[in-house]
Symmetry: C2
Subunit: 341 residues, 2 copies
Amino acid sequence: MTVTIKDVAKRANVAPSTVSRVIADSPRISEKTKRKVREAMKELGYHPNFIARSLANQATQVIGIVMPSAAEQALQNPFFPEVIRGISKAAHEKKYALQMSTGEKEVEIYEGVVDMLQGRRVDGVILLYSRIDDKLMKYLQKNKFPFVVIGKPHQKAEQITHVDNDNYLAGKEATEYLIARGHERIAFVGGNKQYLVTVDRLSGYEAALKEAGLPYREDYIMHEEFLQEGGQEAMKELLSLADPPTALVVADDLMALGVLKTLDEMNLRVPDDISIVSFNNTLLAEMSSPPLTSVDIHIFQLGYEATKSLIEKISNPNEPVKRIIIPHRIVERLSCGCYQK
Amino acid sequence: MTVTIKDVAKRANVAPSTVSRVIADSPRISEKTKRKVREAMKELGYHPNFIARSLANQATQVIGIVMPSAAEQALQNPFFPEVIRGISKAAHEKKYALQMSTGEKEVEIYEGVVDMLQGRRVDGVILLYSRIDDKLMKYLQKNKFPFVVIGKPHQKAEQITHVDNDNYLAGKEATEYLIARGHERIAFVGGNKQYLVTVDRLSGYEAALKEAGLPYREDYIMHEEFLQEGGQEAMKELLSLADPPTALVVADDLMALGVLKTLDEMNLRVPDDISIVSFNNTLLAEMSSPPLTSVDIHIFQLGYEATKSLIEKISNPNEPVKRIIIPHRIVERLSCGCYQK
DNA sequence: TTGTAGGCGTTATCAC
DNA sequence: GTGATAACGCCTACAA
């Protein structure tokens, strides 16, 4: 049925191994037989069977992408398509294929990835998140599977290749940006505290307040999902406070969108009544009304670099651990105003 | 190193074939040995090797996703993450994994997919687009590879399982919507005419004009890329006309965004100066200023149904050809006004 | 430079 | 019910 290496061999009057060598373009084969074999391949319409090759090679040339939650949910946030764009570019350059995890709950994802790796479907994986005490990450490390994480590993970060932003600094700068505009009651709206991004940006926020001699208030700290609904929830709670904030550091554009929505419903205006600095600088930040001042973290590059590092690691298991910090920068738009008492 | 079926067999004092049967939960194995074998698997931490299994089975339980262009580019349009969400859900339900094509140019994609299939990396593919005279589609058909397309196949649509909207009708309704509001100079901004979506929506547009006794003007028809830039280009051209349109049917939200951008730069207001009906009803439509009246084509469902159909086809090659039409509906927002002479 | 043979980890077809 | 054994398609020593 399907034409195999043997068929080609017969046709070209050589041994299967010779064909195999031609495929690998081995220098030990004469140009003449190479030509002959290649011609036979053309004539028969031969295509190498990756699966068979993978089995023999113990390598698949496939990289696994692991999302923090069901793709179904994660992909709602433009962060993910954007990282995947970067990943895709780098993978393509090195001729790697991409496979996506598809699990709903955390355990399912965990098992899915374990199967992916143990089942030798992929040569390595990229974690598109980093959370505290992550079972999966520990597993990967223990079993010495090639992987890189986008974000900062919770523990043993010096032993795990990762690509991250300086989220502490970014959080600090975002906050300082608001402080510089006279704000004193600044709230923080972030994702789940399990995520390192949240933790880091929050500490940056905290540091900025401290340096400015402003009080750190528990009731100004919100943790919600990285979705619009999360932002809405957070904003509602903040507005129910006796003295609501005059400015917000929001850790994600999509969340910020939710924040804007709630503010709009409450007839509050941005930046007149409340200022916002957001994160990610996705298209959403540009499009919202008002457009959001947002910290560009270069998502694409995050994915691109992570993939390059992973591939290096796959091809050379002794590759030293790397830590790559992608620069960030605040992109000013219209969501911040000066606070006037 | 890695624990195989043989190791398990030894440990459980059975033959490898028995272990294999236990994995497949064959009814011909006694509960007692099953228990014994399963215990051995636990103890040794056995994980089946998918690759080996695939080779023996001639099936991978992986579905390939084929985008119209480099993922790097396509993923900029929220349409794609959204279909993938649907695909991911259905795939997960049936325990299929997902692999993405990663090619830049059309030829590269073509070859990538051919390799995917011939290399037996995937059991079937989903084309996330449909274009005229598509080489790849012909290839798939000729070689009888399981595939489904999202969109309407150009030729032999009755022989190809596909999931689509009634884009003709949708285009017609969108146009009628504007006509009903008094507009007579209505332009069409679509994607490349190679794409069937574009063609279909355009014919719907044309039909609506005809029925209303309005002239069809070549200079009101724009074909650009499905990106913001495309919308900007189109709008610029339209505005350079002696008598620019008072309303637009734009075949994609992201393009519509570009349109809005250009209009804004020109100090034209929507809907006061120009009305817009867009397509896809992504988050962008909701967020833009003004929010766009947009035709919801239920992207998620498109992906979900396509995947279910593909999996059926993979498991049963004799599955009859299917054509699934996903309903659409216009979601009214603030981008349309009445035309007053 | 090329051929032979064994192995990669499973499944499937026979036997017993 | 369970055990050999031969595929699946390719790669890679080892020979020649």
